[in-house]
Symmetry: C2
Subunit: 414 residues, 2 copies
Amino acid sequence: MAPNTLKTNGDRLWARLMEMARIGATPAGGCNRQALTDEDRLGRALFESWCRALNCTLETDQMGNIFARRAGTEPGLPPVLIGSHLDTQPTGGKFDGVFGVLAGLEVIESLVEQNIPTTHSIEVVAWTNEEGARFSPAMIGSGVFAGAFDLEYGLSRRSRDGVTLASELQRIGYAGSRVCQAYPIKAAFEVHIEQGPILEAADMPIGIVTGVQGMRWYDLELLGEAVHAGPTPMNTRRDPVRALHTIISEVYKFADQFGPWARVTFGDARFEPGARNTVPEKVVVTLDLRHPEESTLAEMEKRLQQIVSTSAAQANVTGKVHQEWQSPAISFNAHCIAAIEASAQSLDLNAMHLVSGAGHDSVYVSRIAPTAMIFVPCKGGISHNESESAEPADLTAGCDVLLNAVVQMAVRVA
Amino acid sequence: MAPNTLKTNGDRLWARLMEMARIGATPAGGCNRQALTDEDRLGRALFESWCRALNCTLETDQMGNIFARRAGTEPGLPPVLIGSHLDTQPTGGKFDGVFGVLAGLEVIESLVEQNIPTTHSIEVVAWTNEEGARFSPAMIGSGVFAGAFDLEYGLSRRSRDGVTLASELQRIGYAGSRVCQAYPIKAAFEVHIEQGPILEAADMPIGIVTGVQGMRWYDLELLGEAVHAGPTPMNTRRDPVRALHTIISEVYKFADQFGPWARVTFGDARFEPGARNTVPEKVVVTLDLRHPEESTLAEMEKRLQQIVSTSAAQANVTGKVHQEWQSPAISFNAHCIAAIEASAQSLDLNAMHLVSGAGHDSVYVSRIAPTAMIFVPCKGGISHNESESAEPADLTAGCDVLLNAVVQMAVRVA
């Protein structure tokens, strides 16, 4: 360990994580603290109480994003931002998101405790509705902040139970007055559980996230003819399932060809009319394609189009590829990545480069600020699940790496 | 045409079909006359009024099956039975079922009109709830009659809207007093539209149905692990869809190997949790296997078990084959088949042998009486559809074949 390497207080971080996990705790050991519910209000209030105890300045913006600030010695300089989210999936875990927020708080407390001033201010932000479970789309708080969505769009999102994001912000008392808009930021960091199995399998405590995979969502629609399962000979059918299995098979094949970072997922399917003894008239299957490089993703899409068209023609059905959504591949900032690398090295922690397969608030933040992420292992790579689990030692290591990376960016060396 | 070949009145048959089709007529030209609805009551009453005009004896049994009888010269002998059903699918057509009942009526009227007595009585039966659309299972009226189900089971069936078959029989006034139970029957015939494309493609007016395919219904269940579509590498997934496409592909292959009468249909599928960006934990797909020979069907099932087990193992998921229902393959009676053959020949009508791919009331009736069926072409092989269509000339031909086959069985030649 380098002589001036700083450490956080892992026990305190863990205790706060466990205290936060009591809000919305589920019988199976997870958390249900969805965005802008009463539980979210309690979680926000708890977070704010901890920030106040550290004499942080608290501000809430129009999207309900909460900013806690410890002023730097030159408060006019752009701050270093640390952020993630406090909301969870309906059957979520104790770590996804909340770890990134409370690690930010722990960074500030460690600096306060160790009497270490920073030149740049440090801001910890809890973004609203990252999960997208209650209000779609996901990452709406950071998205409006970064200009990916306008404010009106963000506030008008409706939950499944029919209330708007604006009215729920009002209801729980977090419709803030600060304008939800980006400002100059020196660097932005987010520490998060990996939500995948790579670090655990490689026995690596730290993942240095160099970017986020591009994602494209499709509905593949196959149209044939509904006929009776009994009297209709096989060779006169226009059966969409004939095209479906070829498409799935070919898409898995091309996933292998595009290397270990290509991801293809058929998450849902619908057969219509969906009767046991009727050849389906229509089959719709969803496809999620991911790759860290946009050019490869474009090539995958081209191949997909060819596969659907060939397979549909062979089965004498009509095939259509509808793109439902996309998020371009993101490369994080080289300086921020270097700061994380140096930080891990100074702490003698093994680290590897990773590309995030999941979306995070940092995807939008990276549009307006130099950004990078730190991953720590989670048990079995499992997340969005009540059994989500992470080791205290790994969380502490991630928080230590965060602290030293932040200090590198926030302290001007004389 | 043989000198003593009898003919029916095709115009009258057609007019009755069109009059019946007005009851429950749908805007798209089909019929919605589901079992034991107000429309079914009207259809039954119309049928009975026509029977009364021919001085038929009418009786309704405990399952609401209606029997119209024209007495033979030796009324103690077992009758010849002609039957089908008046109920339709929710978006059904004008011919499925009702053609078989009104053709029976037309046979009686032709005999009355032409002053032709028969030795054996002739009974026309309209079976209750053949379609199974409102009450499950299908063919429940003929099924109870033939002893496949007991009466209590039949009467206790519940519709989707929660009422029992017994209460609906009471409500529409067709809870009859005649015991629903088989009695000696000389021969049973049913004429029906083919509901498949074979006769039309072969340009054949008459299909001589030698049996009904055996059917086996399965749920194939594939259990893997729900993981995030992004962070999870392809090679660590336990993805049920990997097994699914192999299973579908292999099952279609074996369908071809088992020859033109083998039928395989994947009618419905369900992915759980069914989220676009999550590898499904569970996939369930339904499979309908049919073949005219039980031994082949058993072999198909064995192959299916192997395929599911191999494909699941390859994909590192768990595969289960649940048999949900089966109906054994039926061979119709050789004498009845011969009577239909002779009848078609005497009428100079081209005819071919067929196996029915769909279930019919005759499947159950064949358990307790010598039985066979006559098929006539329907447009495009389409049925269970408002666009169901058949040519008057084909319906007349089918009715003529029925008449002469019935007479062969019902008249004892001195």
